[in-house]
Symmetry: C2
Subunit: 450 residues, 2 copies
């Protein structure tokens, strides 16, 4: 028979078993953290009617959409999890309780030019809190706590949750008489990290901002110090613009409860240069960066918006949300060597190797181990003992259970710790406990080690 | 602004929060069971090159495929998880350890005519064990244990794992001199349940089978009794056809270890009328039915095959696998009223309701509860107390934590059990323990109650 060459499309991540084990651990950790913080899981179709998915229309995204016709219906694959959420909330408005807090971890599709670290199919992990008509500032204040808990649970320690407020920025631009230049200004300010202060100022002047105003702008975004010091410096501008004052009070509210939310000062920063896409967010905005790894960019971003589902309903549905580009994050963590070596990525904790023709005892032992929470694999192939042990070795299975005639007659199993080489003759029950303790210790090591 | 009517495509399941909570529990349970049995998670792209996905070509399935072109590439959405597995194993052959045991829970797509209980996007939950050149019979024997563990963990008790062997059937047809009629015979036998024995026999005769052979066939598939009794009756036919004898010995091996695998006799049956699609499976075949609910059909099916990836590679890769049509199962369970009422489907275990302007204590309490494994939601909206309590009520959150001036000054929280109405004034730590214990007791109730 003529063979078809097997291949996976470029831009589509497909992991080998050890990588997949890490990805599973990450997803499991995210699900757990989001659930602990009171978010309900949501799952929506990958395919939607194009009319619904592209209600907002236009933009760079539309060109990237996977769009096609099936049975006369114009269909498209979702390109983010926000539009499906908007559709879901508008569609089920009367059956949901608000604030509606949901998380969703799912694949989205963008036909971008394939390049290293860019994916056409990728996971996003989103949380959003949607209010009905109104949504209290406490929800914006809670987001940094959730980001902190999310990344800490993965084992990350060196990261910074950067927060700004769009009302504050808009108000400050208005104070300078530059309200109509907001979009340009933000684009330029966004380059501060790359250009440095001097070139950034020069660019502002080049763009027609007076030297005086450029200096004021640079002084503003250059405000430094701890969060408390930055707030104090911002208060100097207060009392002259309503938007600025509102933004400042929101920022104060977000910062105020950080200690009670358990977010350490070193993992948080007010960053006046952060703006996100100007047309959608209306209040607090968030970015999260890994310390000393600027090339990765923000690994968790989001913000407050006033109108989630305006394309579908007249209901005012303000919300706040964040998103992790999970596939890209996974790729970056691997490339930066940030995965822990200690995590058990094997498909089992114990490999049961029978050495007699009658497999009853081996089967019984496998069942016993599984009932005791040990991931047990039964090796049923007719191979030399060496090949069987080598299988455990290559797969990284930490324990091997041998069942020979000696063990059977003594009513015990022979347990080998593949890491230390130690061997134990003990009952299956004792072996199960030993394996569980060891695996819980080793397996509890985080996915990430930084 | 003109609004687009929000809608979800017909044939695409999208659940409300309580349904989604149940689905999550089911998936979590499957992942856990599969992991305990030593299977590695796998994730493959939803989109593949059409050439790769349709390597086998032809058939009814091809018409249902979602197929389209993007950037000049002919693409298709996966319609099952077996073809992607075959591709994956062929592609990564040199980097995998065999037997390769993987589970995959993922969405697949078939553009079937939409009708009640039929889905165009649906989850499959598959496990497969793939050998390199050979695969021991022990793997086929293990499958019923995994099916049993899977459904038991969900709370199902009334189900039967039905097992047959294709070699046995083929051998018996050969014994009757009907080897070339195997496909027709199986189709007719498959109707036994619906037609009854008499009509089934008449149909066989109508199809040109002699009355004598029809009687023999009916006697064979009518063999009844316990597994042991059926095996004894089958042994009568032994010694006259190699395929039959091999099939019988395989069936004996599958049955032999059931007690050690912990599969109760009442959840298992040898069923000589089961065949599955004749062109793919070559040995043991499995179906699983819910007792007294024949309209649901098989909820978990599969079998042994000899050549997983023949379209991609010359390597002989025999395997055994089973698949659960998860979306259809979910739909059937709901329709049959088999979901337990006791399962907590709320997005949180506790709702923290602050009743003072300063939210510090409320935030601290939420953090404390989360750190202690309690799913805690902070209610930050400015509403009347009644509206806040009603939110907990409507959402089904089992505990409410009140924080008023009295509690703050006494250093306690007021905890209300929404189910019993009981209230407790105690420290946040004590409240966390109380909630955790109650939730573990109630939350441990299975998803299914039959």
């Amino acid at each position: 028979m003529e063979k078809i060459k097997p291949r996976t499309l470029s831009g589509f991540m497909e992991l080998l078993p050890d990588g997949q084990a890490r990805m599973e651990r990450i997803m499991e950790s995210l699900r757990r953290t989001y659930a602990l913080c009171g978010f309900a899981p949501l799952d929506t179709p990958v395919i939607e009617a194009s009319e619904v998915l592209l209600a907002k229309g236009g933009g760079e995204t539309e060109k990237q959409i996977y769009r096609f016709t099936k049975g006369g219906t114009d269909l498209a694959l979702r390109f983010d999890l926000t539009v499906p959420l908007a559709k879901y909330v508008a569609l089920n408005y009367g059956r949901l309780n608000f604030p509606f807090r949901r998380y969703q971890i799912g694949k989205v599709y963008r036909g971008e030019r394939a390049q290293r670290g860019r994916f056409r199919e990728f996971y996003q992990a989103d949380i959003d809190i949607i209010g009905d008509g109104a949504l209290g500032i406490m929800n914006e204040a809670e987001i940094p706590a959730i980001i902190y808990k999310t990344f800490s649970a993965l084992g990350l320690t060196k990261f910074t949750i950067r927060v700004n407020n769009r009302k504050l920025l808009a108000g400050f631009f208005a104070l300078l008489g530059l309200a109509d230049r907001a979009a340009d200004l933000m684009r330029t300010i966004d380059k501060l990290d790359k250009l440095g202060a001097e070139k950034c100022r020069a660019l502002l002047v080049e763009e027609g901002i007076s030297a005086e105003k450029a200096d004021k702008l640079m002084a503003f975004i250059g405000i430094s110090g701890t969060s408390a010091e930055k707030l104090a410096a911002l208060r100097v501008y207060a009392g002259r613009n309503a938007s600025f004052d509102l933004g400042l009070s929101e920022l104060e509210a977000v910062i105020r409860y950080l200690p009670e939310f358990g977010v350490p000062e070193e993992n948080f920063a007010v960053d006046l240069t952060i703006a996100r896409g100007l047309d959608y967010y209306t209040g607090t905005v968030y970015e999260t960066t890994l310390t000393g790894r600027p090339e990765i960019g923000s690994v968790c971003s989001g913000g407050r918006y006033d109108d989630l589902a305006e394309y579908y309903t007249d209901k005012k549905l303000p919300g706040v949300g964040i998103s992790i580009g999970l596939t890209r994050l996974f790729f970056a963590l691997e490339e930066q060597g940030l995965f822990s070596d200690e995590l058990i990525t094997a498909p089992a904790d114990a490999l049961i190797i029978p050495m007699t023709a009658d497999l009853s005892k081996a089967v019984e032992t496998a069942t016993r181990l599984r009932d005791n929470g040990v991931r047990a694999m039964l090796y049923g192939e007719e191979k030399k003992l060496k090949a069987k042990i080598s299988y455990a070795d290559r797969t990284g299975i930490p324990f091997v259970v041998f069942l020979g005639d000696d063990e059977l007659s003594a009513g015990v199993v022979k347990l080998r710790d593949m890491q230390t080489g130690e061997q134990f003759s003990e009952t299956a029950g004792a072996a199960a406990s030993r394996i569980r303790v060891a695996v819980e210790t080793r397996g509890n090591s985080s996915v990430i080690r930084d």
